[in-house]
């Protein structure tokens, strides 16, 4: 086994992790942001990513591996580059999220570019059913939106610009009335 000094870490990654470590009285607090940074470089929390992070932080790789398995957003297996988290929690499922999730899975098929997951409540029940596409919240989604959503990601365009949460107003009484989507009965709890 190589010592931490012998492990090569991309210099940008090292700098980013060290910058996070400097923010806290105890540098261990940087574990999550550091793993997130390593995941961005390596695509997932691979043994290599964890070893590099551990070398910079001065902790054991096993410690970080244990941390990584606890959190949903840290991937412990190789995944597609683009994440599509479809919220299938209670409020979204009442508005057809399970059907939406199936449609996204079917349409993305075996495309290795995508990491499609059903996800716990993403905190955007006002645009239910919704998804987080590479961190961008979009909704309310109908089944017809699915091909366009995936095409936007493939083409590197902003995803469904007209359905992004960031443009939604709080105090707009009509914000959701235009699209009362899939009939609730369609969503099963499967």
């Amino acid at each position: 086994m190589s010592t931490p000094q012998q492990i090569e870490v991309p210099s940008k990654l090292r700098e980013e992790i060290e910058a996070h470590m400097a923010l806290y009285p105890d540098s261990r607090s940087a574990a999550l942001p550091a793993l997130e940074a390593a995941q961005r470089v390596h695509g997932w929390c691979s043994p290599e990513a964890i070893e590099q992070t551990a070398a910079v932080m001065g902790v054991m790789p096993a410690y970080l591996a244990a941390v990584a398995t606890f959190y949903d957003m840290l991937e412990t297996e190789p995944v597609g580059k683009h994440s599509v988290y479809v919220c299938t929690n209670i409020s979204c499922s009442l508005r057809g999220a399970d059907a939406l999730h199936r449609a996204v899975c079917d349409t993305a098929g075996e495309d290795p570019e995508f990491n499609v997951r059903s996800f716990e409540c993403l905190g955007a029940c006002d645009i239910a059913p919704m998804a987080s596409v590479d961190g961008v919240f979009v909704g309310p989604l109908s089944l017809d939106d699915v091909p366009r959503l995936l095409d936007d990601v493939r083409a590197g365009r902003p995803v469904l610009p007209d359905k992004q949460l960031s443009t939604r107003k709080v105090a707009d009484p009509n914000a959701n009335t235009h699209d009362f989507p899939t009939h609730p009965a369609e969503g099963s709890t499967a």
Binding site: M73, L94, G123, S166
Partner: protein, 434 residues
């Protein structure tokens, strides 16, 4: 007419920037507070009667007062992990008015004597964390965060810390472990965070909405703020309404207005021809209420008296088109997924509840399973380090109690559908004696 305090100007373009926020009176409260003594600020917070907006509803001023005095390292942590299903109010504040939160943190940290602060934001809120980071950079530049703020002698560092997807990190001690770079397992209490929290130091933990209300309290004065709401639930509250309503969204209400006014008046109620079957008054962890409870005042005590809770202020409406089993299964599966696994009643109880509900759905259950399931819920409550298990047991227990007939019906229907025949529902005959 409800006073709009937190959502005033909320949709104004650029409110997220210091420029616009300051033009709307932003950081005036910080100026005012830092000119007072910390004790005077604390007195205002206590006078306001503000109760925590994260779920537990604990008096905020009292929480601040629990921190020991003296010049030890003290911490303030803002809980922005908002993961309770149905809750999305903090997201709105952080995205659109991040400076309001930062200003609240500056004032609260002054009252508590804390010099280091953190905002623990859930990792899924990428855009909101970016907005906070940008606002924080502006606030630092303008001298609202950093050394000797506005010449008051009070110094404060603030770090936006992003989580990585774990519901349990919204539980305050799980959050602290996560913030220390560990798995987010809850800690045994006591000691409470006010005495031994982050890095073993005294720590004040408050929800986003609670802290964002602080500038308003300082501006209005605690006494004046306490005139809003009811006797025991002061002020206004952000309510997230979702599920089967025409206009899901965030609404600011004065505590104590009838629940019907929120669900029907503001959110439009269920679609035409549908009725409210049940509703969660405070996120998916709260015991459900029924149609008959719609006229209850929406405040902490009325909800508690009705056997439920105000929680995070997330109302989830379920209409009469939805089988109650679907609701129960969704809720139970969520808590099974999110249980950290540390305490047996929660780890096993959530798992077995899901299995029993699935049995009901696939037609292999008998009515006796309902009894067993109800008893599992009772054995979870109060028997774990944190309330995650309770958070499943309370709504599931209430669903069983209130919709028992529907569960029984579901069992029979599913059995017949699967060709298993009706379960024996008649009681065992009493032995006859000569």
């Amino acid at each position: 007419m409800t006073q709009v305090l937190l959502f005033k100007d909320i949709d104004e373009p650029g409110l997220n920037t210091l420029d616009v926020y300051a033009k709307r009176g932003g950081y005036e409260s910080a100026r005012k507070a830092l000119a007072l003594t910390p004790e005077e600020v604390l007195a205002q917070l206590e006078a306001s009667g503000l109760r925590g907006r994260g779920g537990a509803g604990f008096a905020m001023g009292k929480k601040v007062s629990f921190l020991p005095k003296g010049s030890i390292d003290k911490y303030l942590v803002c809980n922005a992990d908002e993961s309770e299903p149905g809750t999305f109010k903090d997201r709105e504040l952080m995205q659109k008015s991040p400076h309001m939160l930062i200003e609240g943190i500056v004032i609260a940290s002054y009252a508590a004597g804390a010099n280091r602060s953190f905002i623990y934001i859930r990792g899924e809120y990428v855009h909101q964390a970016d907005m906070l980071d940008a606002a924080l950079a502006e606030a630092r530049e303008a001298g609202y965060v950093g050394e000797d703020i506005l010449g008051s002698g009070h110094s404060l560092s603030l770090v936006v810390h992003r989580g990585a997807g774990a519901y349990i990190c919204g539980e305050e001690t799980g959050l602290l472990d996560s913030l220390e770079g560990k798995r987010g397992n809850p800690r045994l209490k006591p000691p409470f965070p006010a005495n031994q929290g982050l890095y073993q130091g005294p720590t004040l933990i408050n929800n986003v909405e609670t802290l964002a209300t602080v500038p308003t309290i300082i501006r209005m004065g605690g006494e004046e703020y306490s005139k809003l709401g009811t006797d025991t639930s002061k002020g206004t509250k952000l309510v997230s309404v979702s599920g089967h309503v025409k206009r899901p969204g965030n609404y600011e209400i004065e505590l104590g207005i009838p629940s019907r006014e929120i669900i029907y008046g503001l959110a439009g109620g269920p679609e035409e021809g549908r009725e409210v079957k049940c509703w969660f008054p405070g996120g998916s962890s709260s015991p459900v209420l029924e149609k008959d409870d719609l006229d209850l005042p929406y405040d902490f005590d009325s909800m508690a008296k009705a056997g439920s809770m105000l929680g995070s202020g997330a109302i989830i409406v379920v209409d009469d088109s939805t089988p109650i089993l679907d609701v129960a299964l969704k809720v139970a599966k969520f808590y099974r997924h999110e249980s950290c696994g540390k305490c047996t009643p929660c780890r096993e109880g959530t798992n077995w509840t899901v299995k029993m509900l699935e049995r009901i759905d696939d037609g292999t259950a008998t009515p006796m399973d309902i009894e067993i399931m109800a008893s599992v819920q009772e054995h979870i409550i109060g028997n774990c380090l944190c309330v995650l298990g309770d958070a499943m047991a309370m709504p599931i227990g209430s669903l069983i109690a209130k919709f028992r007939e529907e569960f029984e019906e579901h069992i029979e229907q599913a059995r017949i559908r699967n060709g298993l025949g009706a379960a024996v529902v008649s009681p065992i005959p009493e032995p006859t004696h000569a």
